[in-house]
Amino acid sequence: MEGNRMQLDLTVNGQARSVQVFPMARLLDVLREELDLPGTKEGCGEGECGACSVIMDGSLVNSCLVPAVQAQGAELLTIEGLARNGELSGLQRAFVACNGAQCGFCTPGMVLASEDLLRRCAQPSEPEIREGLAGNICRCTGYVKIVDAVQAAAAGRERP
């Protein structure tokens, strides 16, 4: 790999993908620029804000901190992978119905962090929700409506 691109083989949102990338490229840039999946956002680029959160091999990660080389063979879920046949997932519908988004920039990361939490803990308490989302920062709405959305989704409802 001396100063050269590598072939990166991934499964992204259920589809096998192969791209030529530099090994130290950030997974975030690979997703947005090479795989044409710009739903994942760059906020701080330092692992502080969570806007770039994706689920990699079943674990929530900050894609700005993952070098491409470490995503070799990985299975990824991004915000583009949650809807099925044009239908939003229950969690996404709950975010919409509970007004869990304002400018929307943090939302892909918030939704993926919530998805990760609900997979680990189907009925989280409010402190568990706040801990699960502690690495995701929203600068518009505050967090109450986002917490409402996660609680609603966990209860199988859309509305708070």
């Binding site: 790999m1 001396e2 100063g3 530099f22 090994p23 130290m24 490229a25 950030r26 840039d29 680029g45 330092e46 692992g47 502080e48 969570g50 959160s53 674990s59 929530l60 990660v61 900050n62 700005c64 901190l65 993952v66 070098p67 080389v69 470490q70 070799q72 962090a113 990760d116 939490l117 801990e131 699960g132 502690a134 690495g135 995701n136 920062i137």
Partner: protein
């Protein structure tokens, strides 16, 4: 993204031996890369001088967690998530669970590794105070073999360690503490994600109403994570019903050498380190009285 991505070379060794051979061939050239949560930040900002990286992702042997009768051994690639979920750690090493919980948030805990946290050498890291309070040791491995070093002797100065350029930190050993009191507190700007202003871990044991053992680890109050040896000496052997709180606090001031930086001031850190120590000791006394 200002890091020079195309100029970088990455090796992904399949075995520890292969990794060590690469390090030994060109000592100092290859920067070991574990979970990336520390290194990717300065790298992306163009503030990292390294262009050759040794990605340790395939060294699965370093992900092992091995408890035994006398303690537990962690591979260097064990993540904070692994740590906080492990039943042995939850049962015997509560300070380490607390350290893992306050390191970043979920996404950082899933990727950040214990070994990386130590080698990165930040005086503000969250796990070192707990490892110091528990008397941990670290295994440093080169082609010639492995050596165990008390973790307390690992850091030699700001971001400097005893790790040789041809060595990797491979394992961390924590002896099982006898029944006792455990305390951990990180003071930062907010509960999640923040880098600490002051961090203190304490482990203490009582025998016949007196302090038998007391170990205090501190972060963010000196160029390195350190033991509060003077404060410990003041406390050891003292009766629990007359613990010298003021004396311990005064001794702590001699142990630490905080500075003003972007996160806090030396004055605040001195004040809060002292307050947190007194809080720890008061909780210690209360918990031991509660146990009869």
């Amino acid at each position: 993204m200002r890091g020079d991505v195309p100029e970088c070379t990455v090796q992904v060794p399949a075995t520890l031996r292969e990794a060590l051979e690469t390090l030994a061939r060109e000592p100092g050239r290859w920067r070991p890369l574990a979970g990336g949560t520390d290194l990717m930040v300065p790298f992306a900002a163009g503030r990292l001088a390294d262009s050759h990286f040794l990605s340790l992702q395939r060294l699965d042997a370093l992900r092992a967690i091995e408890p035994d009768d006398a303690g537990i051994t962690f591979g260097a690639l064990v993540t904070y998530t692994d740590l906080r979920r492990h039943p042995y750690v939850q049962r015997h090493l509560p300070n380490l669970v607390q350290s893992a919980k306050v390191t970043g948030a979920v996404a950082i805990q899933n990727r950040g590794t214990l070994g990386g946290n130590l080698v990165n050498g930040s005086p503000a890291a969250d796990s070192p105070p707990s490892l110091l309070a528990y008397g941990a040791q670290v295994e440093l491995t080169g082609l010639g073999g492995a050596r165990w070093v008390p973790y307390e002797a690992f850091h030699t100065g700001y971001k400097r360690t005893v790790l040789a350029p041809d060595e990797l930190l491979t394992r961390i050993r924590v002896p099982q503490p006898a029944a006792g009191f455990h305390f951990y507190r990180k003071v930062g700007t907010r509960a999640a994600q923040a880098v600490s202003k002051v961090c203190l871990a304490l482990y203490a044991q009582v025998e016949a109403g007196s302090v038998r053992e007391c170990r205090i680890g501190l972060g963010s109050v000196a160029p390195v994570p350190l033991r509060a040896r003077s404060a410990e000496a003041v406390l050891r052997g003292q009766p629990l019903d007359a613990l010298p709180l003021a004396g311990a606090r005064a001794a702590l001031m001699a142990d630490i050498s905080p500075i003003d930086d972007i996160r806090s001031t030396a004055r605040y850190r001195r004040m809060v380190a002292g307050n947190v120590l007194v809080q720890a000791l008061m909780e210690f006394v209360t918990s031991m009285n509660g146990c009869g």
